[in-house]
């Protein structure tokens, strides 16, 4: 775990370095979409007496995100994730398959461009949202499941990426979520119980994975000012690049 924290710190340093030694600005990316795949390690507890890692080693997580650029640095968007909890207590392949957990989270996020160095760029994310976690245990087809849901107070991520052309990037995703479960339920033979979680306690997950992203770049504006080139590019709120009037060149 300490190694994971160290890795996260190293990622931050790696992201910080190009921010101070930036040699080249990345092209403006008004609308961005991404998909990520990773492994999430559970930390903390969902309620008093229940560690997030009690029933699961971790989760394989798929995520889809989208964001709209508000300026040179900041984009706003959302992230939806679906995770499959890897069960600890199962003895056959059928039971293990039936015991896969389900993690769903929906997050609103702000993404910050930290800087660029050659073909390398780094983004960071911060956000919040809501998460639903279900842990299942199947034994010879008999299933017991525990569920928790509650807000994600903090989502943070650093995404050091390699540019793959003007539109695409492939990034290492190092993410952390911290949240609180508000409600819990237990569904088992003879038991159907839902109640407020015994807390509050903090749960967290640290995710390590890859993110591929694609930017919908603005189409070149009609070149109507100086010859065949644009002397004064400008970005319209809907993401389209246009040229300003030639009279303003050099002003």
């Amino acid at each position: 775990m300490k190694a994971l924290a160290a890795l996260a710190g190293a990622g931050l340093l790696a992201a910080a370095a190009p921010a101070s030694a930036q040699s080249e600005e990345a092209p403006r990316r008004p609308i961005q979409a991404g998909a990520r795949l990773g492994y999430a390690l559970p930390l903390g507890s969902y309620e008093h007496g229940t560690a997030a890692s009690d029933l699961s080693f971790g989760s394989a997580v798929l995520g889809l995100d989208g964001a709209y650029s508000l300026g040179r640095v900041v984009s706003l968007g959302g992230l939806a994730r679906l995770g499959f909890g890897i069960p600890k207590a199962c003895s056959t392949s059928g039971d293990c398959t039936s015991s896969l957990g389900r993690d769903v989270s929906l997050l609103a996020l702000a993404r910050f461009e930290l800087g660029a160095f050659g073909r390398f760029v780094a983004d960071a994310e911060a956000g919040l949202g809501y998460a639903w976690v279900t842990r299942r245990s199947s034994d010879d087809g008999t299933v017991s499941s525990r569920s928790y849901h509650g807000p994600v107070w903090v989502h943070a991520a650093v995404l050091p990426a390699l540019r793959l052309g003007a539109r695409a990037r492939l990034a290492l995703a190092v993410e952390a979520d911290i949240g609180t479960a508000l409600r819990t339920s237990l569904d088992a033979p003879g038991v159907d119980d839902a109640r407020n979680a015994d807390g509050p306690t903090l749960n967290a997950q640290v995710l390590l994975g890859l993110r591929g992203s694609f930017a919908f770049l603005p189409a070149p504006a009609p070149q109507r000012s100086v010859g065949s080139t644009c002397a004064r590019p400008a970005l319209r709120p809907w993401g389209r690049m246009v040229c300003r009037r030639a009279a303003s060149v050099g002003a």
Binding site: M1, K2, L4, A5, A8, G9, L12, A15, A19, S20, Q22, S23, E25, A26, P27, R28, L43, H48, G49, T50, A51, D54, L55, R72, V73, V74, K88, A89, F112, L114, G115, A124, A126, S137, D139, D140, T142, S144, V154, A156, A157, V158, V174, A176, D177, I178, L186, A188, P189, G190, V191, D193, D198, A204, V206, P218, P220, T229, C230, P233
Partner: protein, 373 residues
């Protein structure tokens, strides 16, 4: 960091001059980036809090010849002997531990093997006390031993019909009941009325998909045992007939316990759920609480109203409180060995947690106030 206007895609026009560095949009941009970095650092540090590993709580109680490891299973406490009874599996010994001092006395003569390969398939694995003797099942030799604790020796042995799991003395009928899951049955032994309690096999009770665990309810004249999944059955001690079957809240049924005076039956599920069944009534689940995971053999202290659940999956010892109405509440959680599979309570406020890999027990002091009046 260079602050300049972004290059216009597909443009061959040089970028305009950079603006003054500490003014306007460029300065705000740098502040935004710094703030993002600081926020990230704080988040990752926060996520790393609580990640440090910790060792098991309680006092380690070493057992003779335990170092290679012992496949513990059933654990008992004898109020009459004032000893924790620990069948020593591979070691070939039954250990009697004095709860205050932790001194362990070994009674030998059971099957033994030098090496521990995990699991609990070797030697003595279950014990119960009755009529001043100890009844011990031996998985290697498929036998039921009667031990005289005063002599510290096996005095009588009887063969078993199939691989044993739990052994319990039934005072109401002066019998010994042995669960034999490999044969899907309970085997019943009558005891000689005079002299040594020599066991004689007299009956078997078929238990499909079981039996797992066993507890005797002398007040209601019943024995309770689990099926491997989902339910617990009640067997009449006199007629030896299955008289009830109740859902127990478990996908994987494991440990069992009983508050005989109050009529509450407990089920410990491998997936970390503990339930209270109304054994005095219709057997419904009165209360269920899911904490931890990996539970097997459970302990109960009827004076405190505390349930003890130890699981390897959570590497934890969970303490639950029982109210007079049968409601469970969470009291606390201790770190336990990552390979533990059982716990037993004594009558002086300790929980005893097995540590198979080290071939020893851990004594954990229960700090919580009584849950029952």
């Amino acid at each position: 960091m260079r602050c300049s206007a972004p290059p216009f895609p597909n443009s061959n026009v040089p970028a305009p001059p950079a603006p003054a560095r500490r003014h306007g949009r460029c300065f705000r941009t740098r502040r935004l980036r710094r703030a993002a970095l600081l926020g990230l650092a704080a988040a990752f540090v926060g996520a790393a809090v609580g990640c440090s590993s910790s060792s098991a709580d309680g006092t380690a109680i070493e057992l003779p010849n335990g170092e290679p490891g012992i496949g513990f299973d059933d654990l008992r406490y004898s109020s009459a002997l004032h000893r924790v009874l620990v069948p020593g599996g591979r070691s070939g010994a039954l250990f009697l531990i004095e709860p205050e001092t932790g001194n362990a006395r070994a009674i030998e003569g059971f099957s033994s093997t030098p090496d521990f390969g995990g699991g609990h398939d070797d030697g003595p694995t279950s014990v119960d006390e009755g009529r001043g003797y100890l009844f011990v099942t031996d998985r290697s030799s498929l036998s039921l031993h009667v031990v005289d604790p005063n002599q510290g020796a096996i005095v009588v042995t009887a063969p078993l019909a199939a691989g044993p799991d739990y052994v319990r003395y039934v005072a109401a009928t002066d019998e010994v009941w042995v669960t034999e899951p490999s044969g899907d049955q309970l085997e019943i032994f009558s005891l000689a009325k005079e002299g040594l309690p020599t066991p004689t096999s007299v009956a078997v009770i078929p238990v499909d998909n079981g039996p797992e665990s066993l507890v005797i309810d002398g007040t209601r004249g019943r024995a309770y045992t689990h099926r491997w999944q989902a339910s617990t059955i009640a067997i009449d001690l006199a007629s030896r007939a299955v008289v009830a079957e109740w859902p127990n809240g478990c996908s994987a049924s494991r440990g069992i316990g009983l508050d005989e005076a109050r009529g509450f039956l407990f089920a410990a599920c491998r997936e970390g759920t503990a339930t209270v069944l109304d054994a005095a009534g219709d057997g419904r689940v009165v209360s269920a609480l899911a904490r931890g995971a990996g539970y097997d053999v459970m302990g109960y202290n009827p004076a405190l109203g505390h349930l003890y659940l130890a699981g390897g999956d959570c590497a934890c010892l969970t303490v639950l409180g029982l109210s007079a109405s049968g409601e469970l509440s969470y009291l606390g959680r201790f770190d336990a060995p990552g390979d533990t599979n059982g716990v037993v309570a004594d009558d002086v406020g300790n929980a005893w947690v097995s540590e198979p890999g080290e071939g020893r027990m851990r004594r954990v002091r229960d700090p919580y106030a009584a849950s029952l009046p």
